[in-house]
Structures are given as C-alpha cells and as structure tokens.
Assembly symmetry: C2
Homo-oligomer: 513 residues x 2
C-alpha cells in the first residue's frame, strides 16, 4: 500500500476516527485513502480555521485526537489561530499538513513555504515524514505525542510523494503515557498550607475543571474553608446541577484582583499561576496578591484528579462534596439585553448540553444564569484567538452526536470563521447558534478606555460593525442553516425553545439592545 493508506490505517488503529479536512492537490492521496478506511470519517470544512477549531472541539470532548488535514503552509497559516486555542486548551490534536513532493521542494514553486517554522509555535511535536516506509510509524509517534498528558498539537508534515509512493505498512499504536503521579510530599505541603487557617485558594485548571476533580476539590473546600476558583478560560468545564460549583477567575484584572485579594496560599491544581489577560498601563501583570505563597499541587501534565483526591483524603476525610443545587432563572420579558438573553439561556439550557462560548462581552451574565441548569459542559476561548466558537461546535457535535450543542457567539467573533455554518448544515449537526448582535466590537470599545487611549471618530469607527449591519439570518440561509431573529426576550425564548426542540442546526440572531 502507499504511504497515505498506511498513514490513515495507522491513525484508525490508534483511535483517530475523524479527519476534519480542507485539502488541496498535495493531499489528494490522503483523501483517496479515506475510501479504503471506513473507520475514518472525513468532514469537510470550507476554511482551515473551521478545520482546526473543529478538531479542537472534538479533542476536548473525547480526550482523543481528531486529525486536521491542511494544505501546505498557507492552509496551516489559516488554521493557526484555532491551533493556538487548542494549544492553550491542551487538546490532543493531530495536524496533518501536506507538502510538495520531496524532490519538488528545491524548485521553490509558488506554494512553497516554511511549514516547519509555522508549525512549531503551536505544536508540542513537529515531524516531516520523508519516506513512505516511515510514515506509519511517524503517525503513531504523532498520536502518542498529541496524547501525552495534558495533550497537545502534534504536527506531521506529509510530502506528496511520501503519500503516493508504495511501500507503506501500518504501524501499531504506542502505549499511551499516563499523567505523572504527584508525590505524597507535594500533597502534604498543600495540606499544611490548608491547615494554617490562613486564607487559601485552590486554583483549578485543565481536568481540574471536570467532575471527579471538582468533587475532590469541593470536599477540601468544605473541610478547610479554602475557596475554589477556576482558571479564567478552561478548555472544558463540567458544571450545573449536581456538580460542585466553582466560579472562574474574571477576565477583567480589577475583578480578578478582588477575587484573589487577601489570599495567603494559592494552590495550583492544573492551573497556571494567574496573570492578567492583557497588560494595562501602570497595572501589574501577575494576579498573585502581595505576600501570597504559590504552590503547585499538580501541573497540567500531572495526575490532577489523583492529586486532589490525595489532598482530600489528607484534609477532608469523611467530608462529602457540595453539589450545585438545581435552579433556573425565570423566563424574562421585555428588552433583549445581555442580562435577559442570559436568563433565557439559563431557563432553557437542556440536560447534557455542550456550550461553545464565544459570546465575549455579551456573555458576562451567562455563568450566573446557567450555574444551576442541568449538568452541562462549557467550552471557553482558551487562547483568546477569536473565531473559535462555530468551529468548536462542529467538533463537539461530531464527538457527542446524542448531545445538544449550543454555540454562543459575538457578532464580531462569528465573522472570522463564519463558513463553519456550512459544515453545521452539511453534517446535519444538532447545533443551535446564537449570535449576540450588538453591531460593534464592544470589547474593544471597553478596552480602548481601559488601556488609556483617547479615541476620536476615526478610531471609534474602526470598532463599529453597524455600517452596513450584518444580517446573520441571511448569512445562515446562504449556508443552509435555518435562521431567525429575536429582538425581545420573549422572541428569543420562543426561537431558542423551538431550535432546541428540533434536531439539526439552527441560528438565532439575538439583537442585543
């Protein structure tokens, strides 16, 4: 068999079952190989940002890598922003980048570029296959690298002739590397801090935001009075009724400082030491309060669950976790605002929903409004590279076909990867997209003031999306997604209820006052 077939067979054997793709000529043998390997599902996206974002969503929900098939350096370039988010999410993800044939490289043809250099900043592992006989083993190595805890982007570069040359043989999967155990003395040191009686915060991140870890952390909090805070932008936060609640660190540094004020011991469990999202003139970048001691209970590649359970067994023997009680806001009436829109979502969020949250400023009230909704997953914008939300929803929906997916999108953010809607329709995915349409880059209008810039008309006009207004119902219709518009809270509730009740994709443009 040729290299491409050996590659795809190897990936299927390693548990890679989905290939999100935007292929070109150099990848045609890889595409052709999909026919020979029915275990691998090819999913076409119309731009590479959708491909990589979808692979991120899939990896977040399954813990297994999807492949993201891209065309040469420019295809990788287009996919980099969502690979950046995947890197920050520590998502296992396998990027396959086609390249010119090995003997064609030196000719510097128009599409020639330095793929390797572009891949490195987002990848934990980069390799270029050079022979058909090697490509299967390279693929197995790539999957192992992507899956090494906590997970990461592995990039395999595939020259066209390596794909089309005969002499490939499938390779066996490598044994996955488990997360690193946390030494007893580390848990002991954290226990000591918790027993001081001084204000303690456990900052949770990575798998620390998932149910098993949250239950252990909740026991610790109940026993010691330590506060639990979640990292600012978790890859996947399991939350809602029945799961221990944890507030997330605020995006606005001034609020985050308040959350952490007075803390004497900061225990990191899967989270990194907290920093301000951006720098602001005259403000500190680190969010660790003066005089607060930081200790790492578990780093991102460590066994976070086991570390928290060990710590709980030390300080909270016999103490039960505290579950979030079920509670929903009442359906609101009147103007559609970020507040009332959040209340509608909280009132209607279905059991088992997966929320892809890129609502930006319009999402400020969502965490509180949905805290007591039926158990669900909340996926956030881990790397701050906008254009994640619609693609991420693709991957989540393909990973979990029985669960409803809700993409909450700002209008500005939606436009970076709007073509993802076409894949929502093509694959018949059960995704309800809500576009919070405030017709401006509202976050930049806020940040303009916060960084101390004095802006006049020319500057403000660069933050304005109202001339002409974007009509998201037309955009959705143009890509085969049924769409409607809501201008009041009642309309929004009616449209959202209907969309959630019907299978398949829908889009609601929420005109936010």
């Amino acid at each position: 068999m040729n290299g491409a077939q050996a590659l795809i067979r190897t990936l299927a054997g390693c548990g890679v079952e989905v290939c999100f793709a935007n292929p070109g000529t150099s990848e045609m043998h890889l595409v052709a190989a999909l026919d020979a390997v029915p275990q691998m599902r090819g999913v076409l996206c119309l731009s590479e940002g959708a491909v990589t974002g979808a692979a991120d969503g899939y990896g977040r929900m399954t813990g297994r890598p999807a492949a993201a098939l891209l065309h040469l350096g420019p295809g990788l370039g287009n996919g980099l922003a969502n690979l950046h988010n995947a890197r920050r999410a520590a998502t296992p993800l396998l990027t396959l980048v086609g390249d010119h044939a090995t003997y064609h490289k030196r000719l510097d043809a128009p599409l020639e570029s330095d793929i390797d250099s572009l891949a490195r900043p987002v990848s934990v592992w980069v390799r270029r296959s050079l022979r058909a006989a090697d490509v299967a083993a390279d693929a197995a190595d790539a999957v192992a690298a992507a899956c090494a805890p906590p997970g990461g982007v592995a990039t395999l570069i595939l020259p066209a002739d390596v794909s089309w040359t005969e002499g490939g043989e499938p390779a066996l999967p490598l044994r996955p590397r488990p997360p690193s155990p946390v030494a007893d003395e580390v848990a002991g040191s954290a226990a000591k801090a918790l027993r001081t009686g001084q204000p303690c915060v456990i900052l949770l991140g990575g798998t620390g935001m998932r149910r098993p870890a949250l239950q252990a952390a909740s026991r610790i909090a109940a026993a010691t009075g330590a506060r639990l805070i979640g990292e600012m932008f978790p890859a996947r936060h399991e939350r809602g009724a029945g799961i221990p609640a944890v507030e997330r660190l605020a995006y606005l540094a001034e609020f985050a400082e308040q959350q952490l004020a007075g803390t004497r011991h900061l225990i990191l469990a899967g989270a990194r030491s907290p920093v301000s999202f951006f720098a602001y003139p005259g403000k500190p970048g680190s969010l660790v309060p003066e005089g607060c001691q930081v200790q790492v209970l578990a780093g991102p590649g460590d066994d976070i669950d086991a570390a928290l359970v060990s710590l709980a067994d030390l300080v909270a023997c016999g103490i039960a976790p505290t579950a979030q009680p079920a509670a929903r806001p009442a359906l609101p009436a009147g103007d559609l605002t970020p507040q009332t829109a959040a209340a509608v979502i909280g009132a209607l969020l279905p059991e088992g929903a997966i929320v892809s949250d890129e609502a930006v400023t319009s999402g400020l009230f969502l965490p509180a409004a949905t805290a007591g909704a039926p158990a669900h997953d909340w996926l956030t914008l881990t790397g701050g590279a906008i254009g994640q939300g619609l693609p991420l929803a693709i991957g989540a929906a393909i990973a979990c076909p029985q669960r409803p997916v809700i993409a909450l999108e700002a209008d500005g953010s939606a436009m970076y990867t709007i073509s993802a809607l076409w894949t929502h329709a093509r694959e018949g995915l059960d995704i309800t997209t809500v576009i919070f349409s405030n017709r401006r880059y509202a976050i930049l209008a806020m940040e303009l003031d916060r960084v101390g810039a004095v802006a006049g008309e020319a500057a403000r006009s660069l933050l304005d999306l109202s001339r002409p207004p974007l009509d998201f119902t037309a955009l959705a219709a143009g890509m085969g997604v049924p769409a409607s518009r809501a201008a009041t809270a009642e309309e929004f509730a009616a449209r959202l209820g209907k969309a959630l009740a019907e299978p398949g994709p829908h889009l609601i443009e929420a005109l936010i006052a």
Copy 2:
C-alpha cells in the same frame, strides 16, 4: 507624543496612506493615533485574511505599501495566507503586529505566542520595536525594507507599551533604494542568444508584465522572432488593446511543456526559471526543456524595464512594438459555461478595469476572451493560497477609486475570506464580484486524477460543495452587497452590464453549467 502617534506620523511621512486593520486590545493606541493623523485612512476588515489581501492589492496597484494592522500571533496567523501571496507578488507591504507589553511577555498570558517565528517565512524584514523612542525609526526602516526592489513584506512587531509610552518623535523617510542596474555584458549575452537564430523565449515576470517592459520586449520579439511568455501568475499584468500581448505560462504542466518545447534559449526578465506548480508522479518539476540554456537578463530586484530597453536597443533598433488590436467577443447566448461566461466578460470589460482573478478552473477561457478588451490590469493568485480575490479587490479599489474593479471568484475560493464583502459595502467600493458557482472544488476533482489517486465516494464527497448549495446572493445580502443570480449567458450579460453601470459593490452568482 507616544510611540503609536510617532509611528503613524512617520508612516504618513513615508507615503503610507492606508491602514487596513483588524485590531485588538494591544493595538488600541495605534487605532487611537489614527485620529491625530488624518493623512492615514483606516479601513476595517472583519478578518485578517481580508486585511492582508487588501494591503496586497493596494501595493500591487500603487507600488507603495499599505499597512496591515493585526492582533498578536493569531491575527498574524489568520493573515499569513495572503501575506504568502503578497510575498510571491513581491508587493511592498507593511505588516504591523501588536503584541503584549514588553514586561507582560514573560507571563505567558493566553494570547502570548511566537510572533517573530510566524512572521519570518513571509517577510523580507522582521523587527520588534522595544522603546517608544525607537519606534519611528523602526517604522521608517520597515517602509524602506518593504520598498526595496522588487518589494516585499516588512513586519514590525509593536509591544503595547511601546505604543502607549511617551517619548516618540516622528522619523524622516529613508531614501528609497532603486532597482539594481543590469550590466551591459548581461544584455550583450542575451543579444548573442537572440542572434543565434535558435528558438528563444523571453520569460517575463514582475514589472516585466507592465506596459514599458512589454513594449521593449515586443520590439525584441518583432526583430528577432523570439517568443514572449509571461510568468504563470503575475502580480499585475497590464494587457488589452494597445498593449503588446503576451501569453502566460500555463498552469497545467503538460500545456506549459508544450509552450516551451523546442526552446534553446530561455531569457528571464523578472521571472524565475519555470517550474511545475505541483509535483506529479513521474513528471519533472522543472519546465526548462532538455538542452535549453537559461540566462537571467534581469532578476526580480533588477531594473527590468531598463534591461529590456537595453536589449531592444541592441537587437531591435528602429523596430516598433506590436500592439494588441482591439477586439471583443460577441455576447453569447444560451447556457452559462466557463466559455460563455468568459465571452460575456470579454464583451463587457470596461476601459481601465482592474481584474482580481481567482476564478480557478472557471477562468480557463478568460485570458483569450479578454485579450483585446480595452486596456486593463489583471491581478492573479501569485502564491496559490486561495482566499485572495475578494480582499485583493478591496485594496485595488482603494488604490484606484476612479477605476472599476472586477473580482472573478470561484465558489470554493470565495469562502475563505467571504467577510471581505462587508468591507466592499462599508467603503462603498466600486467592485463587481462574479462568483463562478460550480458547487465543487473542481480543480481538486481534476488534480485527483492527475496525481494518480484512485478515489471513491468518500473522497469525492470531500470535493463536493453542493450539499447544501451555497447561496452567494444571500451571503452578499447578509453583508450589505446587492446581489443577483444568473443561470444563462443572457442573464449574466444583463446582470454584469447593470452592475458595471452602477457605482458601488455588486455580486453576481454565475451558476456555471
């Protein structure tokens, strides 16, 4: 004044008059500085591919750089594909990438990434400003680097605190470096080849595809019998009635081989030695025929015009150039096919039009159909990174507000940067977009066979854009661009004639049989 103001003032003083932008928090002071410098026009695009493609189009038409303002590594990533095209076009272009404050870098905040590494593969020049006092001089250096013949992408990375800190002072422009002169013996050597009587081809590229060079080349061809061939994908080809005609090297290697068959002397004037766009199993990558001697009359950074004039004076004294006679196809009737669509465009192309050509397979018949149309500029997909056409049209329209711009787009290609249509509408640009809608990645269906891949249903479905069909009239309407659809040659002629007669943007979805 702060660094941002010093930067923008310096750029304006260097002749940079337009800043295409998709800014974020780190660039707010740069945005604010636009108000203080009315000579700098800010143009908002909704995604970075539109920003960089627009800057490319502007640079191709003016010979002066526009600024492309991007937000950190992910913003640069999204803009890389069109920067790749700009690099291949040798377009003078200034990329401004905001970054975290210098003191914030080490905290590895969520948006932190290795911007410098991402910039290098597409840039002739990369620098990171480190002090407000230096940024203006850095900007002047950047413009000089972008303008150094033949032109290129210069990337200046701007930490937020460098922008907001006081202590900047505008810097003076640097004297532009002229193209390198071509030595007399080089022209003499080419003359010797032309006088052998053996089959000679002059391969024109870069400014060699513009009127002055074409006139000199035409004299040489008339005097010596040498054939003129243009590079495969020129940045800007001046053509049409009154301008010496030159056929371009074919994309399909088998056709290109036929064009060059029998050539004994290949004289490069601004073009690179010809190579196949992609590699194909068992086919050579270089398109230079066996036994053909290649010589460089003028490289891309050389004075191509002067070299051709010198050569013409040696071998074609007293000979006049041959102008393309005016000729248009008749308006066709019946089915709308790539042939009849091309005839309609040839029949109606206005005087002075600028064509942004990303029609891919649907564009095969365009060169012949438009060869004798009134004089116009033809901008091609220089680097093969699709998603160029709609953004390039923005830049061309802003560069040449008195000229009609026509974007010829394949449906697949259009979707990578479809949000560019919003900027067409927002700026009221006189751009007529034609979407050749064949509802598939037709070029890949062709390439699948050409690379020898045997594809079944799963593979073919990844090249299919028909489920659901894209409705480009709805997409255009969603972004404020008036749109219509044509299913016959007559309808297409009527819609195109109307769109060309009205100012402002229009889109026509041409349903290609």
